[in-house]
Amino acid sequence: MSVVRRLGPALLAPVLAVVVALVISSAVMAALAVNPFDVFGVMLDFGETPGQQITAMVVIVNRAIPLFLSGLAVAVAFRMGLFNIGVEGQYRLATIVAAAAGAAVTLPGPLHIGFIVLVAVVVAALWAGIVAVLKVTRGVSEVISSIMMNFIALGIASYLLTGPFRGSPEGASIIATADIPESGQMPGLNGIFDLFGLANPPRQLYGFLLIAIVVGVLIAVLLNRTRFGFDLKASGMSPSAASASGVNARAMVIKTMLLSGAVAGLIGLPDLLGNTHSYTTDFTAGLGFLGIAVALLGRNKPFGIALAALLFAFLDRSLVPLQIADYPSSVVTIVQGTIVLAVVVANEIARRVARRSAAGGTAAPSGGPTAGDGSTGAVPTPPPPGSTDQRQGAQL
């Protein structure tokens, strides 16, 4: 019981958001004369054979890795109150430079991969750093400048791809950088399926999963267990209080944006190192913007972001079976959209609930800026939104 009470506020917002999104999209489906339960059934059907089921999971995880990294990049800045909308441009620019650099050199295996990762991280961090410098020296809002920098980054990426970095033959319908040689390609993790005696799917599980997990843990440790993380969160919650207690606000802005950019540089690498081995005109775009939604849903905490990324990836995968079963694939788009909307609303509700329970008891706020912790205080009345939320959750 105490566990529930302690976790209640933290869990409330995301669960509420997902439930509200499911209810709204069910209503939309019902209005379209589609049985929502049939649709959810198709979404949860991973196939008949073990091979198909494992493939489905590999597809989901592979999709979730870049979403997770993107969400993480956004969240790092978010925790300090910075809105880095420039993740999109940061990863696109980083990926094309890393692809070209990786194709240009030949190094022994792990070193080659390390070099590519380093190039991507440095490029993206520097690109994000421009935004930070503009903010601390000229007071330019990072929201505006990072959006503008996206356009510049995309333009530069296009120029590099069609100009100096072009590796595909003239007249080929897809323009690409030169292929990264074998030593710079990251092997898949499909060995683990053999290890557990599971069916080995035709799709490779990205080896970058390991790096993503390590990065996620590092960020979590950094945020929660270090002075830097404390300063960062303190600056996010109350800039004036933070600087009164000796935090250098300007240095924090620059450090945070560099860190956010560095993580953003990794977003394109799972695909680049594990699948395409070159940057092409068709390289997946838009991951930086999806990351904002993922970070919101994950409440800016690494573990939450991982779950949010998996949820988005799961929804994304279901597009294919839904279409095979002749259901409108827009259902998934509606669910994704309503989740993001619901998250914003739910976060606000959760914040009020937390504040009310904190006011009622003697609890000290802890955790994120919006999460209260009611573990030591008695909750005077059960929060109404929470109780309805639980009932709806049980029905679904």
Binding site: D38, F40, T55, R63
Partner: protein, 346 residues
Amino acid sequence: MTKAAALLLAGSLALAACASDEEGGGSASGESSSGGDLKIGLAYDTGGRGDRSFNDSAYAGVEAAIESNGGKVSELSPNADASNRADLLTQLADDGFNPVIAVGFAYGDVIGDVAEQYPDTNFAIIDSSVAEIGADNLTGLLFSEEQGSFLAGVAAALKTTTNHIGFVGGVDTPLIQKFEAGYFAGAEAAKPGIQIDSTYLTPAGDFSGFNDPAKGQIAAQGMFDGGADIVYHAAGGSGLGVFQAAAASNKRAIGVDSDQYNTVDDPALQAVIMTSMLKRVDNAVEAYIGDFVDDNVAGGEDVTNDLSTEGVGLATSGGFIDDIQDQIDDYRQQIIDGDIEVPTTR
């Protein structure tokens, strides 16, 4: 840690509850079927069905093929960032669809691998050459867009009163450059020294240029304001903006891919569409499926649709170019006979 466990538990409970409600109702399948064993898989380019252009044209071809051969079709559209193209093809092949037709050159990146994994399935790709991809069970359906665009250039040059015309390309890719090259060659052949403006809405890598009418309108408006009186667009959905700009300036425009005089809803816009460069994706798809049914698909080869096979051409709806039809036919014949060789790059 407990947080994590609880969250997982809550999630799985919710999902499990969802699933248990499903029993017995989850296998509703509504593929459009009209008998026959033919199972055609169709994977669309971004935009999917209802784009009134490329994708719809491919579907029309499949529909016609089903009409004559029976069978059924399953159509899939990629997700918003089109990162799941390989999954679409894999799923179709996995479910026993054969042939599987990929609409758009963007599939060129992934279709080679999928074709390798499913050697018993026949694949076709529109706008991409097998030579680039290399697979025995893959057919490339190519179009000589430059030939059709040459005729569009001829028509524009003959019809302009200001000796000044324009071209709006959606995205600066090699494919769209073929349209541009043919258009320029045709216009200069019919009227040497003609002034031609040319612009692309977005650079390579940013595909929004195919679906941004506002950008198309601004680009075309600039050309009309600068003195051009006919603008040819190869910009997919952005072409609507080109038509709007033409209507606003009382000038004319040339459509692309399908006969846009017939597909555009608004009569005001219809009046400005002088002609359209037709790219008969429907014919190519129908012919490919016909070959497949007759067991005539060689695989590993390209099928090029040009003026001689009527794979490309110029629409006459509206009757705006009836008076110059003889001259256009003359150029058409010269291209077919090989007297004129149309370049594919400027």
